[in-house]
Structures are given as C-alpha cells and as structure tokens.
Amino acid sequence: MESSLPVLFLLGASHHTAPLAVREKLALDEARAATLSTRLQATPGLREFALLNTCNRVEVYGVAPAASVAQLTATLGEVTGCTGAELAGVLQARVGHSVVEHLFAVAAGLDSQLVGEAEILGQVKAAYDGALARHWTGPVLNRVFQKTFQAAKHIRTHTAIGAGQVSVATVAVDLAGRIFGDLATTKVLVVGAGEIGLKTAQAFQSRGAGTITVASRTLANAEATATQTGGWAASLAELPELLAAADIVTCATAAPGHVLTADLVATAMKHRPARPLFLIDLALPRDIDPAAAAEANVFLYNLDDLAVIAEGNLARREAEAAKGRAIVAERTAALWPQVAQTLGRGE
C-alpha cells in the first residue's frame, strides 16, 4: 500500500476509550472546535473532513494519505491541551471499511452510552451539514454520510433499539402518558426545587405538559426552578390545595420524613375521585408514604420502580442491538467497494 494514496480514516475518542477526566479535556467548546477545524483545513493532504463533537465523543472523519493522518494526532493534542501520553491510551484510529462500520453504528445509536438514544443521529446530521456547508466534505464523505443516514433510519425502523425510555425522568414521563394519554391537559406539581425536581419538570415540559407548579419550603428556590421550566411557584404550605388540583406529582426533597402522607393523598382524592393521580417519589429517604398507593386511582412509583423499568428497557435495547449490528455489517459490505473505488483503490 502506498502512503501517498488517500484513505478513509477516523481519529477520535469516546466514552468507550476515554475516562471522564480525559473526555472533559477533549471536549471542544465552540471556540476550540473552530480552532481545530482551521488547523485541519491547513493540514497538508487532508482532502475531506467532518468533525463530530458531542458530550461523549470527539471524532474526526476524513480522507487523507496515511502520512497526513499521523500528523492529526499531534494537532488534536495541541488544540485540546492533552499530552501525548494522555492521548496514546484513549485515541482510536481506524482506516478503511471499519470507519464506515463505526459511523453507521454511531449514527444508529448502537455505539452510544445509552444504546438506542436518538439524539446522536441529529448530532451526526448537524456535523455533516456543517462540514458540507463549509465545503470540507467531498465525494467520499458525502456518499458515506448519506448512506449513514439511510442505514441509521433503517435500523431504528426495523429493530426495537429505540423502544422504551432509559432514564428515570423520561420513564416517569412515559408512565404519565400511559395514565393520561395526552399530557397537554395535565397539571404537574413538582415538590422540591433541587436538580432532580428541575430535570423532571423539564422532561414534562418537553413532552408538552399543561401546567407546571414548583413547590418548595423556600419560595425563592421554587421561583428559580419555576422560571427555568415556564411554570408557577408555590409554597409547601399550600400542598393540600395543590395536591387536589394536580394530576402528576413528583417529589424530590431532602426531607427526613414523608412530605405526602397517605391521609393527605386520601383527602385530595375525595375532591377528584374520577381523575387519576400519578405520584412519583424520586427522594431518598422517600417523600411519599407507600400506603398512599392503596387509594383507588392513585399510581405511585418510587426511584427503584423507575430504575427497574429503565434497566429493563435498556436490556431490551441491548438485545436488539445485535440485529442492528448485523444490518451495519451488511450495509458496510455493500457500500465499501464503491467507496474504495472512489478512493482510487481496490480493496
């Protein structure tokens, strides 16, 4: 193999290869991503490239002679401030058809930390669109990326890798959908203005929940969280009235005892017996008395319940990933001869 011939390459690191501390150093903010792109453009022999930069991976896909690829490691180290020793153990370099196979798997969510997550496909599309708009891509990467999107869509459609939610907050939102259907008319009450309360409220907000009220012992904290979720703030003293009006209640306070007692829930249900009440207890120790679940039309889920569902969904996704990988292998085998021909080589 002649070193002057261009090859399709991948250079980068992800959660599979690099620990969090190194990924933090490798992570590119807007300015450093622009710097890296400028340096890549100036790299001799680099014909095409695209930069995929997400919270869990930094990857450069490109077409260049093998000799030029070796220089890129140094460039990456200079831009990110990582030493050669740090990069040596975590940087993965791929050449040839394994690059196509890897990109297909990444875009389909098969290589993600949470297998089957859909966000990565959008990130790959954004990376490609950015590179295309700046004329960084050419015939090889254009074809590879177009086929990547087709493969990812096919895998998501024909396997169940995206089925079921895999985070506690989204599992809770999913369950709310099973109880109420359309969430647009639901009233969500978030008890506790901490980070967990905020994330859960944001998850409900993103799924179009009707109204969100944040209740906390300190009204200022409730107001701060409510502002971030487009909701209302309330004091915990109003809890009985808020509970009677709410459809979904998520509790995540640091209180040592039960914030929602069984009696409080029973009293609230007397005011709205026909409307279900979904209680989500995300606190440790628990905020909601487990006896509240005995009330008719009340559905109570705690942190363990949600975690079990999330783990089950993740296990099912991983089982489906084998089907996805088979599709990746099949599609890579079909595409690679065309790519190799474009590269001017016959593998």
Partner: protein
C-alpha cells in the same frame, strides 16, 4: 343448497374472518409489531367478517320475513355484529390501541359459539313482530344496545388490565400497547351513555305498543328487560356523579354485561309460538 344453509355458511365465513383477524393481531402483538400495516390487515379481516356476517343476517332476514332476532343464535349474532358497528366508529374516532384485537376476539367468540351450539338455532318465533315495524325497531335497538354494552365490557376489561399493569409495574407485552387509563375511562363513559340512550329509546317504543296490548309481553321478559335498563341507568348516574369511578366502574360494566347476556335466555324463552325451521339445523 337451501337458503338457510347459505345464511349459516355466510355467518361461518364472517366468524372465521373475525378469528383470523384476532389471530393475526395476536401474532403481531407477541412480535411487538403494532405498525400501521398490521392495523390495516386486522381491520381488513374485521370489515370482511362484518360484511359476511351482515350478508348472512340479511339472507336469514329474508327467509324469516323480518329482522332476524327470533332465537338465541340470531340474537347473539346480532349482538356481535352491533359491537363491530360501534367498534368501527369508536376505533376511528378515538384511535384506541388494541381495541380492534379485543373486538375481533369478542366477535369471533360470540359468532363461533352461537354457530357451534346447534340448539340455539333450532326454533324460531313465528310472526315474531306481528308485521309491526315499530316492534321490530324496538327489538333491533334493544339488541343493538347490547352490542354497545358488549364493547363497553371490552374497554372495561382493557381498563382493568391497564390499571393492573400500572399498579403492579408489569408494563411489558400486551400491556405495552394498551390505551391510557384516562382515554379508556372517557370511552367507557360515552359507551355507557350511548347504550343507555339506545335502550331507553327502544323501551320507549316498546312501551308505547305495550300500553295498547299489555298481554303481548310476558311478565318475566318485562321485569328482566326493565331491570337491565334500570341497573345500567343507575350505573350511568353514579358515574356521572363520580360516585362509581375507575376500577370499580370498570368491574361493574364488565360483570353487568355478563348478567345482561344471561338475561337474554329468559327474555327469548318467554316468547310463545316457537316453530322448528329445518331439521338439519
């Protein structure tokens, strides 16, 4: 082949298509393939089954000279047919996941059982409605309301299953595709209101003629029919006042339908002038 054999053949075809729809839906469900294509296949079987069933009832109606509600077999077939009519409207309006599968199983079970139990089709009331179209309308509406209550029993069953799965945190398999609790509750309330409305209208029409000829209706039939209507009406009022809700409401609707089905026996047997149509049936 006589026309009476032909009507049964058509009803058999209808029942088998319902069964085919149920089985294909069940297979798709176990493979977690709740796609639009699968729904189309299921609905094609259901529409086909419903058309054959209607053709069979039509041929039977021509043979008996009126609405075919002369024996248990015909009544049960009509109840299954009515439930499918309501399903086509409810399923289209509310897009209720899995209701097609449940409706297919329900219609197939009713249709096949009525075809397999020969004594249900052994006799037939002569001049059943006395050539009176109002009495015929009364009977048809009453049986149609049973179809509505049958579908209500199905959605109540789905409500109970969804409630059970959510309470016991068993959310896989069949439970994955069940509609939401609130959606099922809304459908249950509307189906109950529709069924009570139809039965009330039916009884109103029947009462108008009964006042002219009180001897035309036996006391057991009168008591049972009014009893079914009254209990459903009370359940509807309790639901409206939020005194009977959620799981208890679903249980009552389910149990009540089985009791209503059982009441068809005394209602049908109270008719006089039974004749045997054909020995082979």
């Amino acid at each position: 082949m006589s026309s009476l054999l032909t009507d049964r053949a058509l009803l058999w075809l209808g029942a088998l298509l319902y069964l085919a729809g149920f089985l294909t839906g069940l297979v798709a469900l176990t493979r977690r393939q709740a796609s639009a294509g699968q729904r189309t296949i299921l609905n094609t079987f259901l529409v086909g089954g419903w058309c054959f069933q209607m053709a069979g009832l039509y041929v039977r109606g021509l043979a008996v000279g009126g609405c075919p509600l002369g024996n248990t077999f015909e009544i049960v077939q009509f109840v299954a047919w009515s439930a499918m009519v309501v399903y086509f409207f409810v399923g289209t309006a509310f897009r209720v996941s899995l209701l097609g599968l449940f409706a297919a199983g329900y219609a197939a079970a009713l249709a096949l059982v009525s075809l397999l139990i020969a004594p249900w089709d052994a006799g037939h009331g002569s001049k059943l409605f006395g050539q009176n179209p109002w009495i015929e309308l009364h009977a048809a509406l009453a049986v149609f309301s049973y179809g509505v209550f049958g579908l209500l029993a199905l959605t109540s069953l789905m409500h109970l299953l969804q409630n059970w799965s959510l309470r016991h945190k068993r959310l896989n398999g069949l439970f994955w595709f069940l509609p939401s609790v609130v959606q099922l509750d809304q459908i249950n309330s509307r189906l109950l209101a529709l069924g009570v409305l139809l039965l009330t209208f039916s009884l109103g029409v029947g009462a108008a003629w009964w006042l002219r000829d009180s001897a035309s209706v036996d006391l057991p039939k009168l008591i049972v029919t009014l009893g079914v209507w009254f209990v459903y009406l009370v359940v509807g009022l309790l639901r409206w006042r939020a005194r009977l809700v959620a799981v208890r409401f679903a249980w009552v609707c389910l149990v009540l339908f089985f009791l209503a089905l059982l009441s068809l026996g005394p209602v049908n047997s109270s008719r006089s002038h039974q004749v045997i149509l054909t020995p082979e049936r």
